[in-house]
């Protein structure tokens, strides 16, 4: 065996770098570890400052108990901690950190400066560590508490540096981390600043409600409702959203186990299961859920970042969480009807409701149901008509579509619709086609002989959703939402292609309360939005002002679309393709602003819509891949009536 392949003990610096790779994934990880240390030190105020998305500078200052010089030096050693002393402690953790890995890991991959002093002592200490090597140890004035400054993160790990995203994206992660930690500690004041701007400003709050209101904004909080429950040592407390408040991704889920923010599939699954059928498919609620379980029910020591946990019995967690939320939602539906469902709750006993919903959900789901309770809003959703129900129900449904004036009678082609995407839904909950797929679909559509929609003989509307038209021997059904979506999509896209977008200024700006990462995302997408006629400005760290909307559209729908766009931009922040961002925004805006299924159209409006469809380049599919028209020839219709 050659010398190079012999087994050897790795040098400390390499061990530290390997460990740092696990603990310190990105700047947000540093912030998380340092803020948690501050909390474990009994801080009542934690101030975070970040520049350059955390690459250039991270500064965390607290007013906790501080450290002596010996302890400060010791904390630079791996597995040196004040939070554990015996095996038993590991299974009865109350502190946020315990592994003693964070500080040495951070110091290994940055220029690290620690200034600290014990409470009541005149002098403190200042330590400077450069890439894991202690450069300076000196006396320093003791201002109380601890200040850690991390500069040039990953300067000696270029591979990791390459994996970092845009400063804005990294900043979004930092905001998320601070927000999630701050949510769990209302008794501690938090601030996060970057480039002179306050991104999080949460003074000491009187309780969870006040803290949540501060972090999520008054508007969102007005639709949140408290819940708490206790059962056999398990405790739940938090706030859950009204069914009318939903978003396009799961960033509104703030889940904690024993005070620690976690990402756990079982926990998330249980929360979402409670909202199944209550919020539209593909949408997510906002839930702040603090789950306290006996310490022997959960193991936090799964991953160095402690974001993952292992429950002793996942089923138990599922049952408890979903039952708590089901109960809370049931109470909500009993007191106020869900605005999204559009109908008042019926007077049905809770038992009947619960049983009906349980059965309905069981029928839909293959997995076992762990005793859920339901609500009336869910039943209303379950009863929603499915015009093309068979297509929507199957996982890979196929809708047969034929252009109205095909030169070849049988030249139909099929478009697969992804599972969960309703072909008859009110909006577009399905996934957006990729640019390439969109181009391919439309290229194919362009080869077909598309109908002159204006030449169709308009018969009338069906279910206030579908325009029934005749074209010679054919029945042409036009989805009014998809058709209008097509028209608007092309309009927004053409604006981006250089045509002047017409913006209608609002007399009174609409204020949208969002979290800081969404505000940043919208701020960066402002140019693309302006191209579509949407004029925005940052109004504060957590608010955006909508000043102008595309001419001819209502402010309400644009406002809703902007909220969803922010979600998408944050979720898809990794995408550097501006054209795709613009494409996404156009599609989303078109979907939000188009007439909906259920909106009554007059004959003139219906005809005007058909004429506008003719003016689009691609009038056969919307950006979500949904067909605009479905055709039935005379033979098909005759067969419906079992006639020869």
């Amino acid at each position: 065996m050659s010398e190079a392949r012999r087994i050897r003990v790795l040098p400390d610096s390499l061990v530290n770098k390997i460990a740092a790779g696990e603990v310190i994934e990105r700047p947000a990880s540093v912030v998380k570890e340092l803020v948690e240390n501050a909390l474990d030190a009994g801080a009542t105020r934690v101030e975070v400052e970040v520049d350059g998305g955390g690459r250039a500078l991270i500064r965390v200052r607290d007013d906790g108990v501080g450290m002596s010089r010996d302890d400060a030096l010791l904390c630079l050693e791996r597995h040196a901690t004040s939070k554990l002393s015996s095996d038993e402690d590991l299974f009865a953790l109350r502190s946020l950190g315990f592994r003693g890995e964070a500080i040495p890991s951070i110091a290994e991959v940055s220029r690290f400066e620690l200034t600290t002093g014990l409470c009541g002592q005149e002098r403190g200490s200042r330590l400077v560590v450069d890439g894991g090597v202690i450069r300076e140890v000196e006396d320093a004035p003791n201002a109380g508490g601890t200040e850690v400054v991390v500069r040039r993160l990953f300067f000696n790990v270029p591979v990791r540096l390459k994996f970092l995203r845009q400063p804005r994206t990294e900043m979004g992660h930092v905001v998320d981390v601070v927000t999630r930690i701050a949510m769990a500690h209302p008794g501690v004041g938090f601030s996060l600043r970057s480039g002179g701007r306050a991104l999080v400003d949460a003074p000491v709050a009187g309780g969870l409600g006040e803290r949540v209101r501060r972090l999520l904004g008054k508007r969102a909080t007005s639709q949140l409702h408290d819940f708490h429950a206790e059962d056999d040592g398990w405790r739940a407390e938090g706030m859950l959203s009204d069914p009318s408040l939903h978003r396009s991704n799961n960033s509104g889920l703030f889940l904690y186990v024993n005070g620690r923010p976690v990402r756990d599939r079982t926990f998330v699954g249980a929360v979402l299961s409670a909202y199944r059928g209550v919020v539209p498919r593909g949408r997510y609620p906002t839930v702040v859920f603090f789950l306290d379980v006996p310490l022997d029910e959960v193991d936090h020591n799964v991953h160095p970042t402690k974001a993952e946990v292992r429950f002793r019995t996942g089923r138990k967690v599922w049952r408890f969480v979903s039952r708590v939320l089901d109960d809370a939602l049931l109470r909500l539906s009993g007191t106020s009807p869900s605005p999204t469902m559009g109908q008042p709750p019926e007077v049905v006993s809770a038992t009947v409701q619960a049983e009906e919903l349980r059965l309905a959900r069981s029928a839909r789901e293959e997995r076992p149901v762990y005793g859920q309770l339901g609500n009336l809003a869910g039943r209303a959703m379950d009863r929603a008509p499915a015009v093309l129900g068979a297509a929507a129900a199957s996982d890979q449904a196929t809708v047969t579509v034929a252009p109205a004036k095909s030169t070849v009678p049988d030249s139909t082609y099929a478009l697969p619709i992804a599972a969960g995407q309703s072909a008859s839904g009110r909006g577009c909950s399905g996934s957006l086609l990729s640019l390439a797929r969109f181009a391919a679909v439309h290229q194919r559509g362009g080869l077909e002989s598309l109908p002159a929609y204006a030449d169709l003989e308009y018969i009338g509307a069906f279910a206030r959703s579908f325009l029934l038209c005749a074209a010679g021997d054919e029945l042409v059904v036009v989805d009014q939402h998809a058709a209008h979506e097509c028209v608007l999509f092309e309009r927004f896209r053409s604006h981006q292609a250089g045509q002047e977008a017409r913006t209608q200024r609002l007399l009174m700006p609409e204020l949208l309360e969002l979290d800081a990462s969404r505000v940043l995302a919208l701020s960066d997408a402002q140019e693309a939005l302006l191209g579509m006629g949407i004029e925005l400005s940052v109004f504060g760290s957590d608010t955006v002002a909508l000043h102008g909307v595309p001419a001819g559209l209502g402010a309400g729908r644009v406002r809703q679309a902007v909220g969803d766009m922010a979600d998408q931009l944050v979720a898809g922040a990794e995408s550097s393709r501006l054209d795709f961002v613009r494409y996404q925004l156009s599609a989303m805006l078109a979907c939000h602003c188009a007439v909906r299924a259920g909106d009554p159209l007059s004959r003139d409006e219906a005809r005007a819509l058909l004429v506008q469809l003719d003016q689009t380049q691609h009038g056969s599919f919307g950006p979500y891949g949904r067909p605009v028209t479905v055709r039935f020839d005379r033979d098909q219709v005759v067969r419906w009536f079992v006639r020869d």
Partner: protein, 237 residues
């Protein structure tokens, strides 16, 4: 964010804006802000109600924008020739009251021709600043809307000219019994005085000097509503 809606420290903008663009930038920075926020920026107290502080909102906004004309006959921004008009609107975006333009001289000094009138000069270029004010809302909670720099369109100018010359005719001929708010489609005359005891001299139809309540020129609500809705999207639409 682009520089169209910058965060402007009001403390730094006490000087008059150098040009219309600077004025609009300041006005845009106020859009969406509450009067309490603006007052705090300017270190000004907020009254509990406006009964004893009529004109407080307008004066606050003048100060925030660096206006210098005050209540003089000249425009609020004399070097720009721009008049500032704050206009209270309801939650539906409709103006809640008629808009004061200027005093209507009843002593014979009124320019009979629209082209030479103070009204025309005042309305030649107006910065409209809507203030959302629902009934009973405390002054501090009222919010500033989107600024609109306006000059009358040809049609609006014709309408104002016709009204002005009709009203000027009534004043010149001393038609006292018709000097009321019913005349004029866009422009109207209304009493403008602190109380009914305030009187000015005027020649009546018989060329006799009589004492009457002073009058002022006002823009009707219907006119300002149309003006705003032609150019801005009202909340109700």
């Amino acid at each position: 964010m682009n520089d169209k809606y910058p965060r402007v420290s009001l403390v730094d903008v006490m000087d008059a804006p150098a040009n219309p663009e600077a004025l609009m930038q300041r006005a845009r920075s106020l859009a969406g802000r509450s009067l309490a926020w603006i007052a705090a920026e300017l270190d000004q107290p907020v009254p509990d109600d406006l009964r004893r502080h009529k004109g407080w909102a307008g004066q606050l906004l003048e100060r925030a924008l660096g206006a210098s004309g005050g209540s003089r006959a000249e425009p609020d921004f004399p070097h720009l020739g721009i008049e500032l008009k704050s206009i209270p609107v309801g939650t539906d975006g409709r103006p809640r009251e008629s808009t004061w333009v200027c005093v209507a001289p009843l002593d014979g000094s009124l320019a009979p021709c629209w082209q030479d009138s103070w009204v025309r000069r005042k309305l030649a270029s107006v910065l409209w600043l809507p203030v959302l004010a629902s009934a009973g809302q405390p002054p501090g909670e009222r919010r500033v809307g989107t600024a609109l720099l306006w000059s009358p369109s040809a049609e609006e100018d014709r309408l104002l000219e016709r009204d002005y010359e009709e009203l000027a005719e009534l004043i010149c001929t001393g038609a006292l019994n018709r000097l009321d708010a019913h005349q004029g489609e866009a422009l109207q005359l209304r009493p403008k005085a602190a109380n009914s005891r305030e009187l000015v001299w005027m020649l009546d139809e018989q060329a006799q000097w009589v004492e009457v309540n002073p009058r002022g020129f006002y823009l009707r609500r219907t006119f300002t509503e149309q003006l705003l809705s032609d150019r801005l999207l009202l909340p109700s639409t």
